[in-house]
């Protein structure tokens, strides 16, 4: 993989992010190229979601800059940004009950005039494709309130796909998914990577991230201080026993499965 040969799609340097003047994570720098998957990992409270929010232009960083293909993300109009970057939050809070199809259609908003309800052929095709990819097509006329947590999660991912972005940011997209749909999501993300998308996601499962990530940003949270990157590197490098002990305080044995893939087995808390 020649990460440096590709132009940086998303680039953060010297970020401090937090809420109300209180820093949650600091000194974060990262580079994401087209066709790469970057996983942000770390213990609870390490600021993974906050960091993704900052990358998604939902939260202004206290320090540092974030650039999308060379331009500061805060200098872009919101619609331009949304055409290039989609964000899947941890949860959706619909005030009004929509059907899955109505929700996914909203993903086309950045491609339409802001007042317009009309959908072009492109719009309809993107919406159908996004629903087929996420296996939500058969749910298209169901109300969001009638969906299970996993179905809802897939519908929200379909919205992000319908945006046809160059970069996707997902905050714990596997949280509500059962085993099978987790694997299906992994396939979707790999397929998108194959099509040149840059993807950032927060995941907790070590084995999932080891299989999916090109790069892992591991955040370490010292007591009472903002977290800092402990490592930014390839999975086998980031997920070393020493790193995992330091960041999570957990002993992990690493074995190799039949296909030669490393398998991570947390064995005991080291404290």
């Amino acid at each position: 993989m020649s990460e440096t040969a590709l132009p940086a799609l998303l680039e953060a340097s010297g970020l401090t992010v937090g809420w109300g003047g209180k820093a949650v994570a600091e000194q974060v720098s990262l580079q994401l190229s087209a066709g790469q998957i970057l996983v942000i990992a770390g213990p609870n409270g390490a600021g993974k979601s906050t960091l993704v929010k900052a990358l998604a232009r939902q939260l202004k960083p206290a320090k540092g800059t974030i650039k999308l293909a060379g331009s500061d993300i805060w200098s872009l109009p919101p619609r331009d940004f949304a055409r290039k970057v989609s964000y899947v939050p941890q949860s959706l809070e619909p005030g009004q009950d929509l059907t899955v199809r109505e929700l996914v259609a909203l993903g086309r908003n950045p491609h339409q005039p802001w007042w317009s309800w009309g959908a072009s052929a492109d719009d309809r095709q993107a919406v159908t494709e996004a629903m087929e990819k996420t296996a939500t097509w058969q749910l298209r006329d169901k109300y969001l309130s009638s969906l299970s947590g996993g179905e809802r999660q897939r519908a929200v991912i379909a919205v992000a796909l319908a945006q046809k972005p160059r970069c996707m940011l997902l905050d714990e997209p596997t949280a509500h998914l059962d085993f099978r749909h987790q694997l299906e999501l992994v396939d979707i993300l790999r397929d998108l990577r194959g099509h040149g998308l840059g993807i950032v996601l927060v995941v907790h499962d070590l084995n999932l991230m080891a299989r999916l990530a090109d790069l892992i940003l591991l955040l370490a949270k010292p007591d009472d201080r903002p977290s800092r990157p402990a490592c930014l590197g390839r999975p086998e490098q980031a997920l070393s026993q020493a790193n995992l002990r330091r960041v999570y305080g957990v002993e992990v044995s690493i074995v190799t499965d039949a296909a030669g893939q490393p398998v991570y087995l947390p064995t005991s808390s080291s404290q």
Partner: protein
Amino acid sequence: MVLRYLILVLVVGSALALNVCLGDVPVSPQAAWSIVTGPPGAPQAGSGLATMIWQIRLPRLLVAFVVGSGLAVSGYLLQSLSRNPLADPYLTGTSSGAGLAVAAATLAGLDFALVPLAAFAGGLAASTVVAAMARSPSGLSVSRLILCGVALSAICSSLITFALLDSGDPARSQGLFLWLAGNIGGRSWSELAASAAYIAVGLAAALVLSKPLRLLSVGVQSAAALGLDVVKAQWALLFAAILTCGASVAVSGLVGFVGLIAPHVARNLFGRDERSHIVSAALIGAALVLLADLAARTLAAGQELPLGTLLSLIGGPFFLWLVLHQRAEGL
């Protein structure tokens, strides 16, 4: 859906017709028809009926129509914006701000033609204060909007009461008191035209902003992620809500609960499309105020009940029902 719209239009139409014909002096439908379709400038010589219809009943029923739709649209926008079905122009301080401005303007002896403008400015000022206090980094905070609105309403109400007690002009205080209780009688064609123009602009803005309204309904975060300039959209929608509410208060005083009931009925009976909600809420609000005003004029012979008081009698129980209903849904 078409059938429901047909029924709604029929209800509004009959309410309009009844308001022309019924009153202390009943007018037959045929006579009313020939007067209304005749030339407005030159009522048939010597016809007291024509004068009464053109100078009293028509402006009054049109004011009822305009006020009803204005309050309904304002309520719909505020409910959608705050994502709270209990929000209405009163809860967000808009109406009370407008009311206080009217009280101040009247007591200061401002020419009545300028009072509606003062009401609009007051509504705008109150809402701006509330919205500014409710601002958070990610847009307007819902609960703060309501809480600040309620507090500001309370402050405005007591200021109005002090102003009335302290005015030293019983006649003027009495007039103001009637106006504040909600009263749409005795409005001129020019006052009607002014408030109708404001409300038409607000209604058009609401329709144009219906897509941003839907985006906001999936949450501020998601709306921003889908490319909506959330703060701008919220301000634009809030401005449309103030415009429609302020113009209504200016011409009718404090007519309550229309902004609560009409949007609720619209949401339940007229689909899920925001544009359909806006149009149907406007018509439902119009029908509500037309029928309430008809009742206010005709229930007690020789005496007129205050419109606002009558609507509160319907609206209060409705509000309580909504609260109880929400509790049943686990809120």
